[in-house]
Symmetry: D2
Subunit: 393 residues, 4 copies
């Protein structure tokens, strides 16, 4: 079929040509004498993305799910009590993983559309006088609902009662796109992946761990080999790896960091906010709204667009793909059919973000939605043009 | 800068990934014993694009300009009388080339926005009782103004008075995008290039010659080496080339033909017409119109959008590029500033063609044009969605 | 530095351009409605490489180490008794992994250079009247020493005493290069990876499981999420994945299978044997020999070349890399310094395999080895040319 | 067929991955407002490769043949007397081109294997008291025979008699590989192409012209459009082009210059000399010799290896391609069958240059040549290793 496919799911995201070219690197010897000259600065620079000085980054040939597993199996033990909340497909899966690994999970089941219940967390933590809770989990960006939570708030809740529990954050669809501050927020573990803000193909599970989290290795009893931090530390410190590393993705990650730093990390965040605002302006012009229940929870990387009663959001996704070669994202499990999702993260600019708005608009019209063609687009255009800056001069 | 560039000029056009990959071929020996197995079917298949049985295709490592030069220098001699018309930058340049090569050019200077003056041609030909006119030139698609002319009409004019002059057609921005019929229309030479409908980078000058045109080599006295047909014929017939050929482009051309034949040549034309209609619907919704003076002259590959009095169309191009990373095309020489051009040819689908409409809309709004945001987009959307078909089922 | 790098380590191997291009696929929606049309045939075709009808293939975004972990954690439980043997870095690491996961490992520590001790296995199995041994492990190709073991022999040992233990095979550096017969040899689990015979970059952990192995999921108690077979089965059966799949590698794997099937799987094995024979002819001409203690154990994918007393094989690797841009492979742990390794697997032909022979020859001369320049090359040339066949006619 | 193709013809040469990636640039608007920021430094830097301060470089989407045509048609007129010499396929074709363009050619037909007859030139020039000779032509590197001529010597011959004729040099297979000094040697026109020392695919005809040559435009009467310098100058000076430029090749050329300058132009020459010496050492060890009749004429970019009586050098080329996937180059016209050619230019290092030696050695043995396997290789190895330097430390 002629013409390109348009991918606007919340990851994988479009891989820019610079990164594609960087990954087109010839295969290389993972034990080459000059490899540390590449590896060490890469790991050091990764810390900047997490805004950490003393943390340590692990990069596994895996995915975000593998990152979660690595986080849990290296720091917690079976029977450990953890505080979690579930308000979407991915926060739910994280709970599921913790349970499978034998943790004792106290989980708040929140409405899909809400975020981390910071107040409830605060109460539980304050009541946990014996400090039985070993870790508190928070999903910074719930990809299924487009809800961004208040990580700094969770930190405050911990500090308010001097609770020593560690803070685990799922940053898979936020790191590199939405502000994240490892050190300032006192995060102990943040998990991410390659195929979102890092603009790479799927294949890297990325974990950033604080010194406190690292210290937990001592006394860790859950079985692990592939995701074992000790093996990584021993070899990473020399600029190498415990098993064959995915060098092409690492070469791509190097170029990804180059691009992020050239633009400026905070500029990247501001750009994501701007793209998200454009999408939200369109949604609003359609007379619709995000699944996120409060604008404080609006995600800057993905918007789950709530469809009117009587419509099936997932039909929007199928129709857009079938008629307009546009990949939007379906709504899953609890909100299946109640929304369709637009990913607006990664390598993105004005005309790119207008594409899924155009495509969704046509698709909804095709499917009989009560919307006016051009309405969402016009709102997004107005927002984008009124905030645009020249690239060259 | 983050995000991709959008290229909507009337060539070069976007190179699809399939073709890009095909061109990423390792360098090869142009005298390899098995090369004819690649070369011969390629040349044979090229004839299908021109819709010719008995014609012959030449492929030069050059551009359309080189194709023109090849056409003239192999078939005509200094002092030969030719009938031409100029109504845009490219038809003008072709006249200029003929004059530089010593032809005696009779040229109708038409208004920019008009096309080949078939009636005037008919009169001149009818009056040329001695058949002094050796060739009649027609630009099928004037890229500068977005005007498509009536080649079959020129043939009729020749036939009406039994005039033996050859018919030369500039098909640089039409072949592979707008219907062209070498044999049926009795065209003797058609010139094209790689960077338009063939979806390749610039670098190939393509010429299709009829048997009558080929016979002119006998008696040809203009100097030539690089563009000499005899050298090509002698080697091409064996599956080889008179000098080092641009193999990567030829590998890409093979994939281009594969794509065109998979879609079906006439489907390609219909798709281009549909894309063009979408653009024209937007232009009309903006309260504007093409430079082309008559809808019979509307080009399906490029639209030159006439801007209102007091505005500079070329400022649209600069602003779109600077603010939205969108490459539109400036208006040249006689209409400089009076229009901006949108290329809508090559590997193109619904959401792609909406992009320059979105970008032009925002840009014009930025520059104070009296248009309503979303208006052009909505019109294009409506046309596209009402004519869309599913890709998969 | 000018000129290309030459990679002759036993994985990663050189990625052919066809596969590189296939991986240069645009990012895609892992939930696209037409994805199963790609996924299902891919998984089905993978079974052909393992020569299995009823087995099932799992593909993880991981590495061979992850494949091992997946094999163990889905089929065995803590305390399960397993029979293993260690005779090289990788068979040793597999033992280590089993121990970390709580298995009760009975391990024969064999001399490095020997292979799986089939006779000893037979005795232990015959003595295990109560069938306490749940699984027998065999490394088909020990990458560290270049030793290929007799998997069919292990099956015979099991059958000889009607022992019901499962047979686990490490085929990371053999599958797709050395004959492997899942069904015929009654193998229950075979683990492989992408970066060896599959000619892909690192990033896929591949596991093939028999019906018997699959049945072990029932009753499996080791913790797992990322490597959980149940999650894979549930989604793979529909043509999808439990978490974001590494689509680019899967697109590359598709092309890898295309290439393997075009050549013919058994032709691929024969070619590997021929390449290996050439290397061994060179080694012999140098007056040296492989680490492998018996020619029955010679590996067709990697040769560990034993260096004379007083020389450091790893200095050969450093010097070759530093002076000739040639990546050979160092010798590890127990044989560190006693050998250097030449990988001769994957996309390889005559002139490719001569390259590390040339480079090693020059390097050894540089380092004062008592060898004659050209001697190893001449022997390899003679073998290769006397067994060469025309490509074209 | 498995394994890569090896290309060792004297152009096209292997394109390094860096350049390949640079050419994988998205298509771009050749009238973009920021294009001059790319174009102007590119043209300026090209002058460094020709070692000229005041010359001007033209880059045509063509080949070396187009470059020749451009050189002649912009500076000379029909009937102009020129002094040439023919001693190989390419110097012969240049003569042919000049004759086709109506020049009055005085040509020395030299033995193939000899170079530019500087002495004879000197005599003719001294005798040309009326300075009727407008230009003297010299092929710096005759690709067909592997003969490098003495350009400085031609300059001396001109100076010795104060002859004002221009000096035209064919540098297609020398520029960027063999030292060339436009200003120091008083060269007026040097023609080159992209697919040799510049390590690019075929597609650029490159011409460097002195101020004196440029001044000839005034009064030039040969017809030209595509290759017209005036059109180039007018647009190049603004950072643009007279017709659609081959931007991908220009992006690749930028990277080519980056690589050449990083290595150092004179280091590039020294490396080519070293590669050539290795090939010649092998040839000598085979008991054979180059077609070049004197070692002063040995080319550092290509060696035409003279085969013994009774053998057909072109059969070597066919057999090497058919059996070993090695592209060597046939011998043409006057020496057809008397030699085979090895290209050793461009992106090349020790192990690369050994490959055609290995392949030729096996091939000659296959065809019954009286050579010893390993002999040529050993000689080349000895030369290369004794002159090797570490890459890293």
């Amino acid at each position: 079929m002629p013409g390109r496919n348009f991918l606007f799911i919340p990851g994988p995201t479009t891989v820019p040509r610079r990164i594609q070219n960087a990954m087109n690197h010839e295969q290389e010897d993972m034990r080459a004498m000059d490899l540390p000259g590449f590896t060490k600065p890469l790991y050091e620079d990764m810390k900047k993305v997490f805004k950490t000085e003393n943390g340590r980054v692990f990069i596994f040939p895996a995915s975000g799910t593998g990152g979660w597993e690595s986080a849990v199996s290296n720091t917690l033990n079976a029977g450990d009590k953890v505080l979690m909340s579930s308000f979407g497909h991915f926060s739910h899966l994280w709970v599921d993983l913790c349970q499978r690994w034998g943790l004792e999970v106290q989980c708040f089941e929140e409405e899909w559309g809400d975020g981390v219940p910071v107040e409830k967390y605060a109460q539980v933590l304050a009541a946990d006088k014996n400090h039985e809770i070993k870790a508190v989990f928070a999903t910074q960006n719930e990809t299924a609902t487009g809800v961004a939570s208040d990580i700094a708030g969770v930190r405050k809740a911990l500090d308010a009662c001097d609770h020593p529990a560690m803070l685990f954050v799922d940053g898979v669809s936020s790191v590199g796109s939405i502000d994240f501050r490892m050190d300032e927020w006192g995060v102990d573990i943040c998990v991410s992946g390659s195929q979102k803000g890092f603009m790479l193909p799927t294949g890297l599970g990325i974990v950033c761990a604080s010194e406190k989290a690292l210290a937990c290795r001592e006394g860790s009893t859950l079985p692990k080999t592939f995701f074992d931090w000790n093996d990584q530390i021993k070899t990473n410190d020399l600029g190498y790896f415990p098993y064959t590393p995915p060098m092409n993705l690492l070469r791509g990650l190097r170029e990804s960091l180059n691009m992020i730093f050239e633009e400026g990390l905070d500029n990247v965040f501001a750009r994501h906010n701007r793209m998200a605002n454009a999408v939200r302006a369109a949604v609003s012009a359609w007379g619709m709204r995000p699944i996120a229940n409060d604008e404080n929870w609006y995600s800057d990387t993905v918007t789950a667009v709530k469809v009117p009663e009587g419509f099936d959001g997932n039909e929007v996704v199928r129709h857009a793909y079938n008629y307009y070669n546009l990949a939007l994202s379906i709504s899953l499990t609890k909100i299946a059919g109640k929304a369709f999702r637009i990913g607006h993260l990664g390598d993105m600019n004005e005309l790119m973000v207008l594409t899924p708005i155009n495509g969704a608009e046509m698709t909804m019209k095709d499917l009989g939605y009560p919307i006016e063609l051009g309405s969402g687009v016009a709102a997004a255009q107005e927002y984008l043009r009124s905030t645009a800056k020249p690239r060259i001069q």
